[in-house]
Every structure is written in C-alpha cells, then in structure tokens.
Symmetry: C2
Subunit: 466 residues, 2 copies
C-alpha cells in the first residue's frame, strides 16, 4: 500500500513524468514557470518549465484572452489536455483550456531576462540563477552524478557514512582552514582574556577532508564512502577552487597496492561518465560547448587508463622540455608537478586520463604509505584532459613506526593524532582510499569551465551571497 | 562492460555478499576482524566480521596451530572453503585452511573488550566504537535510511541538491549559531581593530537549516530535498540534541495546504519504517530493546495519522490537566507545548504519531504562512511516541506584504532577507516543506535513546573528539 502512495499519487506528476509517460489525450494540470511566449495571430505558444527536466512543455493556447496574462518568469497553473504534438521538437504538447497566474513576474524589472546573461551577472543574482536552463541542468547533473556514485559504491559493498564537519584536526596540514567559534562566546569578550572561550573545550575547525575519519570507520565497516562538504580558506581566485566544495571520498581496508585503488577510481569515474551521458549531450549543445563529448568518449572507452610513475612522468616532461622548451617551470625530480606539466601529460602525452603514481614522500602528506625505495609514497593523482587534477588518493601508512616517523618528519603534534595512530595498534589493516572533487567532476562532465557555476550557491574569498 | 566491472569484480566479495550469495563449496578469501573465538578440543570456532552485515561469518578451524594466532580484534585474512553449515544460527560457514593475521591486537590492552561497555566509555573511545555490533548496526541503519529517503523523494520527482553550510543568515533567528572565521586572519590581530577581518567580507555562520536556500531552489526546480549537516551552538545537554546533526529537508512549490505537506511527510516516514525493518528487528533483540517493534508497527499500519490543530491540542491538554493535574506546566493557548505535553499527546491521547498543526504565529519563525484567522500559521510539528518531535514544517509565506510584516514584527533585518523577499516578487508560488531530524529518526527506529549513539562522530558542548 505504501508503495502505491510513494509512486506518485501524493503529488501530481512533474513535467518530466508527463513527458516520459505514455498517457495522451488526458486532462492534466501543469504547474511551472513561463520560459518563453511566442504569440501568433490565432494561437500562442508558451514553453512551461518546472525544472524537472531539460525540456519544457509546449503549451498551445488558442483563446487569446487566456494567453494575455502569460509573461516570462511568471509561475502558472495550466489546465488542459495533453496530446501528441504535430509540431517539430516535441512529442507532446498541452492544449490549454485554463490559465491561472499564481505568481506574477514584471517582465520589465525581472533580473532573469531572455538575452544571454553573463556568468558574473548570474553569480550576483545567485538566488535566481537556478531558473536559467544552464544552471538548472547543472543541478540535475549533480543529482544524477551523486546517484551514480552512490549506486556504484553500494554495489561494491561500501557503506555510505556521514563524517563530521567540525573537527579538531587539519588533515592536510595546509593551514588554510576555517575556525569555528560560538557566536555568543563572542569576540568582544575575548579581548579580556588571552584565549577565546572554546565551545568544544578546544579549537574547532571546518574539515578539509573526511579522510582521517573515514579511516577510523574503515577499520570497522571495511568499505566506506561519503559525499561531504569540505572547506578551504584559500584566498586564490581560480576557476578550480571554492571555499566550500563537495568531495566524494572512499576508504577501504584490505587493499594492498596503489594500482588496486586506481582501479576502483577508474571504474567509478567511467561509470559516472556513462550514467551522465544525457546531461553531457545537453551541455554540448550549449554556448561554450567545448569538445566535451569527444574527451568523455575517449575517457570512457580507453581501457585501462595509463598509469605512469611520477619518476617516469618527470623523465617524459624533461625530455619534452629539452627539445621544445615550452614549460615555464623546469621539471625536476623532487619538485611538484605544475599545472602546465599536468595538462601536458594528460592532453599531449597520453591524450586521455592518466594516473601519476608514487610521488616523492616530501611532496605529500604524512599519512601516505612509504614505498620500499624509502623515497616515494604509494599514491596517485588522476589527471584528465581539459581539467587537470580530478582525484587523488593513496595507500595509508598502516605501520605504526613508519607513521610515527612521518609525523615527526613533518613536525606534527603526535598527541593530536593519538587516536589515528591507535587505529594501527589494534587490528589495523592495509588500507587505502581517494578523494574526488565533486565540482571538478561536474565541470569536466559539463564543459562548464568555472566551478563557481558547478554548485548551487558558491562561496569564495570575499564572496558569500544568500 | 562497465556494468560488469562495477558489479563486484574489482573488489573481492564482502561477508554480506558471501552470505547472501548462492555459491557454496567454493574456495574463498575472507578479510575481517575477529569478533569472538571459542576453542574446543579438536576445533576452534571464530566469528569474523567485516562490518558489511549484522551477522558475522563463522570460521571453523581444525588445525590447532592455525587457530593459535586468533585474538579478539585482530584483523585477519582467511583462506578456505565456504560450505553449508550444519550448526545452529548460520546457513554457511568457512572451513579455514589458511590464516594470516594482517593487524595484531593485544587482547590485554585493547579498548574494546568483550564485556558490555558503557555508552559513556564508548563515546570516549569514539575512534573504536564503530567496531561494536551496536554502533556498526546503527551506521548501516543510517545508510539504509538515507537510501530509502532518497529513493522516496526521487520517485516523487524531487531533485537532490546541496545547500551551503557556511551562510550569512540564521534561519530560525534563534541566535545559537556558530561563527566561521579564517584561522589565519586570527584572533590575536582582532585585538587591534574593532572587527575581525572577515574572509567573506561579512560575518559568516554555520547553517542551522537549509530551508531558505531550498526555497530559492524550489522556485526553479519545483521539488528539492537534501540530507545535510546543520549546527546549533546549544549548551543544553539533552539526549535529543547535538551541536552537529543531519537534517532531511524537502521543499516544493505549488502546494496549497499544510495537510498536503503532512501527507508527504507521513508517506516518507512510513516508507522509511518499512525499508528499515530488518535493522529494527536487530535492535529489538539488543540490551535496551524497548517496544520498538510495537510502536513502529502501530505507526506504519495506522493510516492516516491523526491531525490535530494546536488549538484542539491545548483544549485536550487542558481537559486532562483539569482532571488529572499531571503536568508541571499549565497548558494554555499562546504558550509553547512543553515536552511533557507533546509526549502525552502522542503516547496517551493518540497512542501513535500525531501532526499538531496551526500554531500561534507568535510561537513560530517569520517565514510561516499566516492563516486567515490572522493569529495562527499553516505549520505542523510531527510528534511520535517514545521520542517527541520528529519533524516540523509549514507552508511558507509567499505574499510579499505579509512576509514584510512578519519580518518587522520579529524585528529582523529586512536588508538581510532582500533576496528571500525577491523570490516572492518574481514568479513566486505557494510552497511548503519540512525538516526531519535524521538522528532523531535513527533513534526512533532503533530504540537507541541518546542521539549521541545515532551518529558516527558526535559533537556537543564541551565535547569534540577526533
């Protein structure tokens, strides 16, 4: 009985449900917003969107008095008959018999006008921009992607978990964190004492990664993943960084090689590409339409993706630099790969996604597992054409002594990581995992270049609307 | 091809997958933690758990030298044959031929001993407590619940969205918020100036509810929902409150009555009860086993749930108080319902979940839609036996003038809510929604009384481990 209730009788069908259903020549009521109005002599055509699908519903209004009240952006409730459409571009249309404007919209002052609006303008009108077809498509793409990743990990026996947002530790040790204080133990009172009164008894930060907490849960549930907000107080203003962003992170026990970790990431991303194809096709028709379909096709059909050690990558980069001298930064073993290097590896050398593995320990965080060469760690960065770094991961150091050495080498407070090292002391297991920038994935799948357009309500240094 | 990869060939099967599969008399390798060891003269039985299911796998070891190394809590990799079990309590067992301890665990000092551990002790050992059967079952219940809610809302045409965590507004106006500052623009520098330098240019807070942002998205996508972390800097230490908790929130346009909103909530919660039955049964066998199955059965079979106006509720409470004088707080129209009142309504008067609707406007936030009586608002609280308030929601005031009046009456800064009132000015629509405390739902479904045991890593005033 619940099944029937849940399958749609509580709420009337959405436009997506109407368009994908088989029923025609039935009386329906359609709610939505007027996307466009085209008035002809004896008939008016309006496109109604309720945000449930890429395509709106074509409404055909023969009664001029009914059509009069329709303006762009108004919210309306239309009664009529859903019929097969004889026109081009749609299978079905609504022959309108009844029109009710439930929310007026003054076309003269409405911030979302028909003409193309700049991304910057839409960022300033963040509360309205989901009404544009491009941003609403991006939001549907996020939902489809999230669903795809969840199904993928569930099928592999992973448990979806919620890790804390407020935390005492700084996973990457990068320092670019946000602090959390109680608004009431407010700043003015702090002037009298040396320290702010801490709500939690000690300093609290916004998480930069769920990884350490996932590791604790992976030593109990074996396979865990989350899609969770993360935060960086970065002041740099690039098209790839947000102060608040979402990360897909997975962690699992009893995995032995970085190659095995890469295989899970590769399968997850390929599955994600496949499940979001319809969205990619829609974006490919859009104004900025880069070669999305081309590079996604290459990525999802090339099997398996190339895996290249950092050492080999630097050697390839050096060879190219020796002959072409195109890089601003000289490639050298022990130095970080620059953005120009990463792009060349994915776009020129491999021409497809590539895993670069086994970076020098000195370039990576303390928790990555040391390789037998004592110099590199069992990690990878996944570099993809037209984006750069999409994901990163590693085996985690499960050997207590080596973990302690790494903490010392990086001058981290051992006491703060006491619980983390204890995970190794009692029933620890070889394990690994990765993190994938969700907005970067959305950007890559859609070809929308700036991640500020890949999240509903973006935040960056100096900017927080709503 | 991707499908095959995704369906399990990348990673070996989990114990759950092995137990639910049909294959027996096959060679398998099983990874997990030793949950218990029972040594008999010629054979040793060990239960191995990998956290993928309630039930562990029984391992039968006939070779004494192999069994020697098994201790509680150790992580092991066992090779052997999966066979039908002749013993009681399980269908399958593993005849062990090979044992590898991959992570030792000193039984003398291991914090998770076999005897019953107090909840308080486990909170202090938060990094280990997911290894107990009770907490791991709770984590699997969270995953099942989240999946059930997502499927339910997807089937009704809702779009899953991510709303911001860092925000400029305080939805409930309660003041118990956390502030977010950059750790680098640190507190010491604030002593020199009057104000801290704000990373975002103006004060930032952790969200207390996603509602206002969901409303903006609902005027574009019609139907949206999220399962998102929320934060309250509450100092009260109750079994129902956390500083960081998760809320299921949904918001949809073109809904006209609070009864319609209640119907969606009722269907969602009933569906949730049905989909999590297996977990409830497991918890019902546990130590605190209250009448979970009984009250859940009543809740899911009574159709529809009682809906009672606040006015009628106060009248019932007053009648009862007049005769029985059991309440500490005198019930009176215009005063909030106290916890004792709420419990009496659900547990004594209705003996099932009950929606109390249409509270006085003075008791509720500014955004709730004013009823025609000019005194009450179109809202509800869902009260359930053995818990109290599980969810709350309302129609939202979509009439600009009345919304402005409410902002004035509650002395809120109109400029701060400019974007929110603009949503009404251009293509607004009647809409409503609700929020359901996810940990409260988990507590109700499991009978686990304190919400601190209903989340992986709990945070409350004075307490933030990990």
């Amino acid at each position: 009985m619940l099944g029937r209730v849940a399958s749609g009788s509580i709420l009337p069908p959405t436009i997506r449900q109407l368009l994908s259903g088989s029923a025609t020549d039935v009386r329906v009521k359609v709610n939505g917003w007027v996307q466009s109005v085209r008035r002809q002599k004896n008939v008016t055509f309006a496109v109604i969107s309720d945000g449930s699908s890429t395509q709106g519903l074509q409404a055909v209004i023969r009664d001029g008095s009914l059509a009069e009240v329709l303006t762009n952006g108004a919210s309306v409730s239309l009664g009529g008959t859903l019929t097969h459409s004889l026109g081009k571009g749609q299978d079905k249309e609504l022959r309108v018999e009844e029109v009710q404007v439930v929310g007026e919209c003054d076309p003269a002052t409405y911030p979302i006008q028909k003409q193309a609006l700049t991304m910057e303008y839409l960022r300033d009108n963040c509360h309205f921009r989901a009404r544009t077809s491009r941003i609403s498509e991006m939001l549907r793409l996020r939902a489809t992607s999230s669903d795809a990743f969840q199904k993928f990990f569930n099928s592999l026996g992973f448990c979806y978990v919620h890790t804390p947002i407020v935390t005492s530790s700084d996973c990457e040790g990068a320092g670019e964190t946000f602090r959390v204080i109680s608004a009431i133990s407010d700043l003015s009172s702090e002037k009298d004492t040396d320290k702010p009164s801490e709500f939690f008894g000690h300093p609290a930060y916004l998480t930069v990664s769920s990884q350490l907490h996932l590791e604790a849960l992976a030593t109990a549930l074996s396979r865990v993943y989350t899609l969770s907000p993360c935060f960086r107080a970065e002041r740099s203003q690039t098209s790839r960084h947000l102060s608040e962003f979402w990360m897909l992170e997975a962690e699992w026990a009893f995995t032995q090689t970085v190659n095995d970790v890469c295989s899970v990431v590769e399968a997850a991303v390929k599955d994600g590409i496949t499940k979001t194809q319809a969205h990619s096709r829609t974006f490919a028709e859009g104004p900025s339409s880069p070669r999305i379909l081309e590079y996604l096709h290459t990525a999802s059909s090339t099997a398996p993706w190339t895996r290249l050690s950092y050492t080999d990558a630097v050697s390839e980069l050096s060879k190219y630099q020796a002959s072409a001298r195109k890089f601003q930064f000289e490639p050298a073993w022990g130095k970080p790969l620059q953005s120009e290097h990463e792009r060349w590896l994915a776009e020129e050398l491999v021409k497809a996604p590539v895993f670069v593995t086994d970076y020098p320990a000195s370039l990576k965080p303390f928790y990555m597992r040391l390789n037998d060469d004592d110099k590199t760690v069992a990690c990878f960065d996944l570099l993809v054409p037209h984006l750069g770094e999409l994901a990163g991961g590693s085996l985690r150091e499960e050997r207590s002594e080596l973990l302690n050495n790494a903490l010392e080498r990086q001058e981290l407070d051992k006491a703060q990581y006491g619980w983390y090292t204890e995970l190794r002391k009692y029933g620890g297991a070889p394990h690994g995992g990765f993190g994938l920038g969700f907005e970067r994935f959305i950007s890559w799948i859609s070809g929308v270049e700036n991640v500020r357009e890949c999240i509903a309500v973006p935040r960056w240094a100096g900017r927080m609307l709503l």
